[in-house]
């Protein structure tokens, strides 16, 4: 009986790597209550399902008495099955960390081919991170010592073994995330402020209404510093909903609003934030679609950039959806290239460079092919844009200073970059 004091179970019953066709690549079963054929339910209900409603796309599903938690990375599904009342969020987090872990070992790649090429490695990693289905927190730094890759010389092996023996000492030390005695010829630190903007605008002509708008920012640091440096980072006050890397001294942040930390070596995500207010949108778009009978369609799209004129957006792609039975389209555009892409059921307008405070238009006339049967009217999915604007931020977060202290007080080269971007499907305007 699960009373009010019922313990939330933290375990997975089984873990699968499944490819897009539904074949099981890797399978680990940790509990007796998991039957061997449970993964086939996943194949038939999720991978091969044609349902597109919200319930069938949910990442946590229930078939029979088993719960399925899955995420998709590249063309591989990671699936965890449990029959207990496990913490779904924990499992989700674990799965995404697992992907990161494999990526870290495989040059940032994760795909079916990577999994197939590294079976032994992945099994080894799984042995480290899951004990009887209970996730074990592991720092990548330590794993790299324990789980070795490729051909290892006896000397390296000996060295690693010594490191492994010291591992406990180090992990339980004051700065568990940084090794002592690092030396660099050139001391450098890079800080990237990357913002993703996520926006949905309504279709009202004349007075478009922003229905949803959110910026998710990440501060990613790459530190190549000798010794045990102490870094201080000053930000303006526009932050809400912040998450820090474990190395950050939270006490000082709360007291002085200063981010102070001893960085791990190499690349790491220093902090994340989220922002929903005071956002300046980089682009405004207006789309007009006129249907002429059953076989013709006229599309006009105007896109205007609002950021300063000296900046520019790159890799801008505007997707204007059109009905499925589109046969051909002819375009009249002020810049870039446009074509009809049947795979995406949309007109694709690409602009390599889009300067600030300018306006471009696309006018297209679309020809449809007649069908024999009356279909449901076209659902008019929203227009979507993807782009990158370097050195711009939509939330207004700015780095005020970045200071590095070290006992030997060497010279440090500091680089700060900013990037605002929208991924495909994030920046949408309803038609």
């Amino acid at each position: 009986m699960a009373g009010p004091l019922a313990v939330c179970n933290e375990s997975l019953g089984a873990l699968y790597f499944i490819n897009g066709r539904g074949d099981v690549l890797i399978q680990r079963i940790y509990r007796d209550d998991i039957e061997r054929n449970l993964a086939s339910a996943f194949r038939s209900h999720v991978i091969n399902s044609r349902e597109t409603d919200a319930a069938s796309l949910a990442p946590v599903r229930q078939f029979g008495d088993a719960s399925y938690v899955y995420l998709r990375a590249g063309n591989v599904y990671l699936l965890a099955i449990t029959k207990r009342n496990s913490n779904a969020l924990m499992i989700m987090q674990f799965l995404s960390r697992l992907v990161d872990l494999v990526r870290a070992y495989c040059q940032g790649e994760f795909s079916e081919d990577v999994v197939k090429g590294n079976f032994v490695l992945i099994y080894e990693l799984l042995d480290e991170v899951l004990d009887h289905g209970y996730p074990q927190p592991r720092l990548l730094l330590l794993l790299l010592v324990v789980v070795l890759q490729g051909w290892v010389t006896p000397a390296t092996k000996k060295k690693r073994e010594a490191e492994a023996a010291n591992a406990t000492l180090q992990v339980t030390g004051a700065v568990g995330w940084r090794k002592e005695g690092l030396r660099y010829k050139k001391n450098e630190v890079f800080l990237d402020v990357i913002e993703n903007v996520d926006m949905l605008m309504s279709a009202q002509a004349g007075r478009p209404l922003v229905l949803r708008c959110e910026v998710q920012g990440r501060l990613v640091m790459k530190a190549f510093l000798s010794g045990m440096p102490d870094i201080k980072l000053g930000l303006n006050d526009k932050l809400e909903d912040v998450t820090f890397h474990p190395c950050v001294n939270l006490g000082r942040f709360n007291a002085e609003k200063v981010v102070s930390f001893v960085p791990p070596d190499g690349e790491f995500e220093l902090m994340k934030y989220r922002c929903t207010e005071g956002i300046t949108l980089p682009f405004k778009a207006v789309a007009l679609i006129q249907e002429h009978g059953r076989t013709r369609l006229d599309v006009t799209v105007k896109v205007k950039s609002t950021f300063p004129v000296k900046l520019f957006a790159t890799n801008m792609v505007v997707l204007v959806p059109v009905p499925d039975q589109t046969a051909r389209a002819s375009f009249n555009i002020t810049a870039g290239k446009a074509k009809y892409d049947p795979k995406r059921h949309a007109l694709v307008w690409k602009l390599k460079k889009f300067p600030g405070e300018t306006e471009h238009t696309l006018a297209a006339s679309v020809e449809l092919i007649a069908t024999t049967r009356d279909k449901k009217p076209w659902s008019r999915p929203p227009l979507s844009m993807s782009f990158q604007v370097p050195m711009h931020s939509a939330s207004g977060v700015r780095v005020q200073y970045l200071k590095v202290w070290e006992k030997s007080s060497y010279k440090v080269d500091k680089w700060v970059r900013r990037l605002l971007r929208a991924n495909p499907g994030d920046y949408e305007v309803r038609l």
């Binding site: 490819n19 897009g20 066709r21 991978i47 091969n48 063309n75 079916e112 039975q325 589109t326 046969a327 051909r328 009809y340 892409d341 049947p342 795979k343 059921h345 020809e367 092919i369 007649a370 069908t371 024999t372 049967r373 279909k375």
Partner: protein, 1053 residues
């Protein structure tokens, strides 16, 4: 196909799709391709023929993958009209995939199809014929049948085209509306016969398939084909065919099977030469088929053999059938399960023919051995066969064998086995004692697969045969000592010991105390229902030997314990019985032996019929032509692909409804002069209940009241525990008749549920009613309207002042109305109810005339038709109040949904304001089964009748009843039957003076979500005018047979 392979783009496309590792990749590839094709199709440039083909094949492939390619339909239909073969081919294939027969777009291609059909190019003709056969719906059928027929009839076309044309025509026939007369038999009978002279085996195969389809609807007009078919068979037997059609040394096996099957639809050939030839062929088939090593050859040979057996049955040649039996018996000993199964199945068909039952019985041992086969379906078939081949001479042996098998049988077929064993025991009982023994053994061994009907039958039989009483009791006691304690077994033994145990004890065999102990051992584990029965049994013991102190102590102990049990029913019984034991005189009066049972149809047979109804899916596994006639009509009406030969009456399905409607008016006129003298009849007399012995004033002491209340309880609880409400309902009348004052006393004894047990009345209503009864008469009427079941009983109790009695004989009126269309239904001192009816197919339009004879207005007039499973009622408005000396009409339309046994009734109620008198009674509507009968639309020749009569298995589909001296003379019956909707066959039964055969179609359904059903029915009256007169009815529906038999008996006598 060679051309397809040359299309490189198609190959590449298919290869790409096959190489896709995920669904998304595949979809992307498909979307890309479809985009390209859309672009090409809308382009201004004309496409080359090659491109057109390529893109259409691609679309076709994409469609088969499950994607939507609607935009290609128009191009596909354009390709159909193209001139080259390759384009046409892909056009036809694509159209038959994209379109279905209901598609409007099909109209666009119909013209091109027709052009191809009448063109001189054979390849085009073939394409068109294939397309029509694959896609064609009723519209194609209307427009193209003529052209297809021309192709078929044109002797100049090549065989390959004509072969296709024959099959295509069959398809169109099936698709045509069932009432459309497409192939006129007078033209096509001769034409088909001429065509069957053809040499080409392929065409012959097509033609025989067509003939099979045609003959399965109606063979009339095609008799000329029979000699030709026989000649084809002869040709096959002489191996006079080309090498292409030889299969393992056999000439065109498929053609042989088809021909043999066609022959089964026709009556045996009349020409002696043909008949001899056919018999000779069958003999050769049955004679020379030794199993060989090759499985394929064996299968081919056996297929022919099984068909030949069927032909032998239809030829009715005992010698051939005997050969068939011998051959099948040989198959039974083969190890191959398929063969065994088929042999058993065919053997069962043979066993239904009376002439060869004995021959079949010779192989009883082999068949019994099949009961122990490893395959359950073979065991089932063997059981079926044993059931069919059972005759009086071997019944005892078979039943004993089945009983010993019962212990081994697996659970999946146990219930069926038990039921069938019981039916066999009941049907052919060699002696009554044997029957009791077998049934007891059966119940002992069957365990939980036994059903209540088993012990009900035993009890009925024992009760009705006094010489059995002590014997049965003795055997029960012995069986109890052996130790079985299954529910049904305990009920049966308990009941019999309760009734006759005291006599057994009196004979000094088994003392009552021991009987009590035997039952008491099983008491604790029994269900509440059984416990209730046993309590009554104990009470009977106690009453039978009032001076047996030990018994009394034991019984009292049980009653004492159960007086405080949680189960209200048991507690009530225990309390009442305890009360009874203290008053000996009352108890002796209250506990009486049960009266004899009315003669009724066997419970077991009814249950078997129900079971067989459930098993229809199993029946469907068999080829349609082998099915028993049940449901044949439905399938024919639905245009099923291969309708089986319907029982008798060819062509009953289409058009009969309209014919029947036209006939209905004439029928009504005819019925008027066919009145038979009215006669009081015991069956269904509603007066029995509503004329209670009038002693409401008699003041009963508490004890007497208790006694009287318990007396019906004893009778009724034994009855009510007879099982489901369905089977309990018909058992009511004897109980009520035996204790007519039970309801009277009810209000005084506060034990409400006693009568309610049998007739399910909601308890709260039962409590309210007695209290309110004397004063609020009106309220009772309202209750009566709410609850038609309880109404009779309680209205009688409520009518305090003076019950309203009918003036005249209600039963006689009813009897008269069974044949007349109008007359009096009911009359009393205040009201007269007249009725007028008009029949239209399964629906009867009734008008009820309610006339007030009183000088004051009648209040609270209620007329309701309680819902009945077999009828759908629609009733017009009924006024609340009836003015003096006025008459109102109430219309009521009743549609028969299914064959029925119980006559439907309406509830009539009113109150007389001045006197406080209240009437509430149920009036039986004169809707008997014969009202829904209509003559079949075609003549039925006498030999066909005889054959179909033979085919109907015995009970419950064929029932016979003695009419005794009440039967009318032949002339009267001959005049009466047509008036009832029967068609009398003129030259039947060798013209003997006292027999009469008639056919009709019973119609029901068509409303309330049921399908219109037409059940052909055959009737034989024999020995008319003599005391040995009998009536036999056969239909494909068990209930229907019974209903028509009862109705006819009622009307004729």
């Amino acid at each position: 196909m060679a051309r397809i392979q040359n299309i490189r783009g198609l190959k590449a496309y298919i290869q790409d799709i096959r190489n896709c590792s995920t669904k998304e990749q595949e979809k992307e590839r498909v979307d890309k391709e479809l985009g390209k094709i859309r672009k090409k199709y809308t382009s201004d440039k004309a496409m080359t023929a090659y491109d057109k083909r390529k893109y259409m094949w691609k679309l076709l492939y994409t469609r088969l993958l499950g994607y939507d390619v609607d935009f290609g339909v128009k191009n596909a239909s354009d390709l159909v009209a193209a001139s080259g073969y390759a384009e046409k081919q892909v056009g036809y294939v694509a159209c038959s995939v994209f379109l279905n027969e209901k598609d409007e777009f099909l109209r666009l291609v119909i013209n091109s199809v027709r052009n191809d059909l009448i063109s001189r190019n054979e390849a085009f003709q073939c394409l068109a014929l294939d397309f029509i056969a694959n896609v064609g719906g009723s519209e194609f059928s209307q427009l193209l049948t003529g052209d297809v027929m021309n192709v078929l009839a044109n002797g100049a076309t090549r065989p390959v085209v004509r072969k296709k044309a024959a099959l295509c025509l069959l398809r169109l026939l099936r698709k045509a509306p069932p009432d459309a007369e497409i192939m006129q038999p007078e033209v096509w009978g001769v034409r088909l016969a001429t065509m069957l002279e053809e040499r080409d085996m392929g065409v012959l195969l097509g033609l025989s398939t067509l003939l099979l389809g045609v003959a399965s609807r109606s063979y009339e007009g095609y008799e000329a084909c029979v000699p030709r078919i026989v000649r084809i068979l002869e040709r096959c037997k002489q191996r006079d065919v080309s090498q292409d059609y030889t299969y393992y040394g056999l000439a065109s096996t498929w053609l042989q099977v088809k021909c043999l099957r066609v022959l089964q639809y026709f009556p045996p050939p009349e020409e002696p030469a043909v008949r001899r030839m056919l018999a000779d062929i069958v003999k050769r088939i049955l004679g020379g088929s030794e199993p060989v090593k090759n499985v394929n050859k064996n299968n081919a040979v056996h297929a022919i053999v099984f068909e030949a057996v069927a032909v032998a049955i239809s030829l009715e040649e005992p010698e051939l059938m005997a050969m068939g039996v011998a051959l099948l018996a040989k198959f039974l000993s083969v190890r191959e399960p398929n063969l065994k199964y088929l042999a058993l199945e065919n053997m069962a068909r043979l066993a239904e023919v009376p002439a060869v039952v004995d021959t079949v019985n010779r192989h009883q041992k082999t068949i019994l051995a099949c009961l122990r086969d490893g395959d359950v379906s073979i065991r089932r078939r063997a059981l079926d066969l044993l059931f069919i081949m059972c005759t009086p001479s071997n019944s005892a042996e078979i039943v004993d064998e089945l009983l010993s098998y019962l212990t081994l049988a697996d659970y999946s077929m146990r219930e069926e086995l038990v039921l069938k064993t019981a039916v066999l025991a009941e049907r052919f009982l060699p002696s009554l004692e044997w029957y009791v023994d077998s049934m007891l053994t059966l119940m002992e061994r069957a365990g939980d697969s036994a059903i209540n009907d088993l012990w009900h039958s035993v009890v009925q039989l024992v009760t009705n045969n006094p010489q059995l009483h002590v014997y049965a009791a003795r055997r029960c006691a012995e069986a109890l000592r052996r130790g079985a304690s299954y529910e049904v077994f305990v009920k049966c033994t308990g009941y019999i010991l309760g009734e006759y145990g005291p006599r057994l004890a009196a004979a000094g065999e088994v003392p009552l105390l021991e009987q009590f102990k035997l039952l008491q051992e099983r008491f604790v584990a029994a269900s509440p229902e059984t416990k209730a029965l046993l309590l009554t049994v104990y009470e009977k013991f106690a009453v039978a030997e009032p001076d047996n102190a030990a018994l009394k102590v034991a019984v009292d102990a049980v009653l004492e314990r159960y007086a405080a049990t949680l189960d209200a029913e048991l507690a009530q019984r225990a309390v009442e019985y305890r009360g009874l034991t203290t008053r000996r005189a009352v108890a002796a009066a209250a506990v009486q032996p049960l009266p004899k049972w009315e003669k009724r149809t066997s419970l077991l047979l009814r249950r078997l019929a129900e079971k067989e109804g459930e098993d229809t899916d199993e029946a469907r596994e068999r080829p349609a032509w082998m099915n028993l006639p049940d449901g044949a009509e439905d399938e024919a009406a639905g245009g099923a692909s291969a309708p089986p030969p319907s029982l008798g009456l060819p062509g009953t399905a289409p058009g009969i409804a309209t014919a029947a409607a036209n006939d209905a008016a004439d029928l009504l006129d005819l019925l008027d002069f066919s009145d038979t003298p009215p006669k009081a009849n015991g069956t269904a007399s509603p007066g029995a209940i509503a004329s209670p012995a009038a002693e409401p004033g008699a003041h009963a002491t508490m004890g007497v009241a208790l006694a009287a209340a318990t007396a019906p309880a004893t009778v009724m609880d034994l009855l009510s525990s007879l099982g489901s409400p369905g089977s309990a309902a018909p058992q009511q009348p004897p109980a009520a008749a035996a204790n007519p004052f039970a309801p009277e006393l009810l209000p005084e004894v506060a034990s409400p549920p006693v009568p309610a047990r049998a007739a399910p009345t909601p308890p709260p209503a039962a409590v309210v009613r007695p209290a309110a009864a004397p004063a609020a008469a009106a309220a009772t009427v309202m209750v009566a309207a709410d609850d038609p079941f309880g109404a009779d009983v309680f209205a009688a109790a409520a009518a305090g002042p003076a019950p309203i009695q009918p003036v005249g004989d209600v039963a006689a009126w009813f009897h008269k109305l069974c044949t007349a269309s109008s007359g009096i239904l009911y009359e009393d001192q205040y009201m007269q109810v007249g009725i007028k009816s008009q029949v239209a197919g399964p629906t009867v339009q009734l008008v009820l005339f309610l006339g007030n004879k009183h000088s004051e207005a009648l209040q609270q007039v209620v007329l309701v038709a309680p819902p009945s499973p077999a009828f759908a009622f629609q009733m017009g408005p009924v006024p609340q109040q009836l003015e003096p000396k006025k008459q109102v009409q109430v219309s009521l339309s009743a549609t028969c949904l299914a064959p029925f046994l119980a006559t439907p009734a309406v509830q009539l109620g009113y109150s007389v304001p001045g006197t406080g008198q209240v009437l509430s009674r149920s009036l039986d509507l004169p809707l008997v089964a014969t009202k829904f009968c209509a003559p079949p639309p075609v003549e039925v020749p006498a030999p066909v009748f005889a054959q179909r009569w033979q085919q109907v298995a015995g009970p419950p589909f064929k029932l016979t009843e003695r009419l005794g001296g009440a039967a009318p003379a032949k002339a009267a019956a001959e005049a009466l039957l047509p008036a009832l909707g029967f068609r009398v066959l003129p030259a039947m039964d060798g013209g003997s003076g006292d027999a009469l055969s008639a056919v009709c179609v019973f119609q029901c359904g068509g409303a309330g979500g049921t399908q219109l059903r037409q059940v052909p029915c055959m009737v034989k009256l024999e020995g008319l005018g003599t005391p040995a007169a009998s009536l036999a009815v056969a239909t494909a529906d068990a209930t229907g047979t019974n209903a028509i038999k009862q109705a006819l008996k009622l009307v004729v006598t």
